[in-house]
Symmetry: C2
């Protein structure tokens, strides 16, 4: 039996700056109807930048949806027609001031496939050169460096609470140990 | 300098079954105004169920927002006034048929703090007893068992693409190895 859900009706309920919202009426495999609330997002990248002395560079910023200051990997949404790795190089420099020539893709994942199509591509950035940060006008960002052990500890004690950051650090930790 | 963003205006743009959406006009630390699009979500739990022979139980289901069948840990949203661990016991049984008396909290995180307040609590479930699955009317779920090594491989090759599932498996893998 197929699991797919055919779209019978699509109602667009919000068109915004970063997200759009629609409600799809779907036909389930048993022919009954249901509704799916869907947040459309352009996709994003996250970068785990590693310095020459093996420190992870993180950014601290206030996140209005959760009313808290979070410690995260540098990240940002993909601009129209932008290649994800170009977005990674751009966001790394804008948010932290660090530049590099190449990034290595680690993985990609859906953040919340139950209600959004957002996909995040995670890149490893090494061989960093210092430059000047240039965050967006409405971004207030502090840059923080942690050792891998410190970052793992902050996940364990709940001080790092952002999904993409946890995935990037755990993935890098496993890579690093088995290198 | 504080990083916080004061709410100057709040416009509710959508009230739905699982999510609500609002647009906050905020005052930034430099006194300029900006807008924040925020998806309100009641929060969720995810459960990593481990059988007596150390297999991980996952569920396969179609996810309309990404138009794909995903392999995920059992999960579900928290009902009004429900304790997260009660929700974990309930969702485990509803989606997989497996029951247990207690669950152990592993961690919690925000899935997308840039545009949503969704928090997910992850629990480890062991000492499972078989029962009868009873998914929601609009859920079509297949249950799959994988060894830890198979699950790690599926993350590495991109067959597991769901953030909460990646976090639960990587966290369990690290725990398990150091037990």
């Amino acid at each position: 039996m197929t699991m797919e859900e055919k779209t019978m009706k699509c109602e667009r309920v919000y068109e915004g700056r970063i997200i759009n919202v629609r409600v799809d009426t779907v036909e389930l495999p048993d022919k009954k109807y249901s509704k799916r609330e869907i947040v459309e997002h352009p996709g994003a990248v996250g970068i785990i930048p590693i310095t020459s002395d093996k420190k992870i560079i993180l950014v601290k910023q206030f996140r209005k949806p959760v009313e808290d200051i979070l410690l995260e990997i540098p990240a940002g949404k993909i601009e129209p027609k932008e290649e994800p790795y170009i977005c990674a190089l751009r966001e790394l420099e804008e948010e932290t001031g660090f530049k590099t020539d190449t990034v290595e893709k680690l993985l990609e994942f859906y953040t919340t496939p139950g209600f959004s199509n957002e996909i995040i591509h995670i890149y490893l950035a090494e061989n960093l050169k210092e430059g000047i940060a240039n965050p967006d006008e409405d971004e207030n960002i502090d840059v923080v460096e942690l050792s891998i052990e410190e970052a793992m500890e902050k996940i364990n004690i709940g001080e790092i609470k952002d999904a993409k950051t946890i995935i990037a650090i755990l993935t890098y930790f496993n890579l690093y140990k088995y290198k």
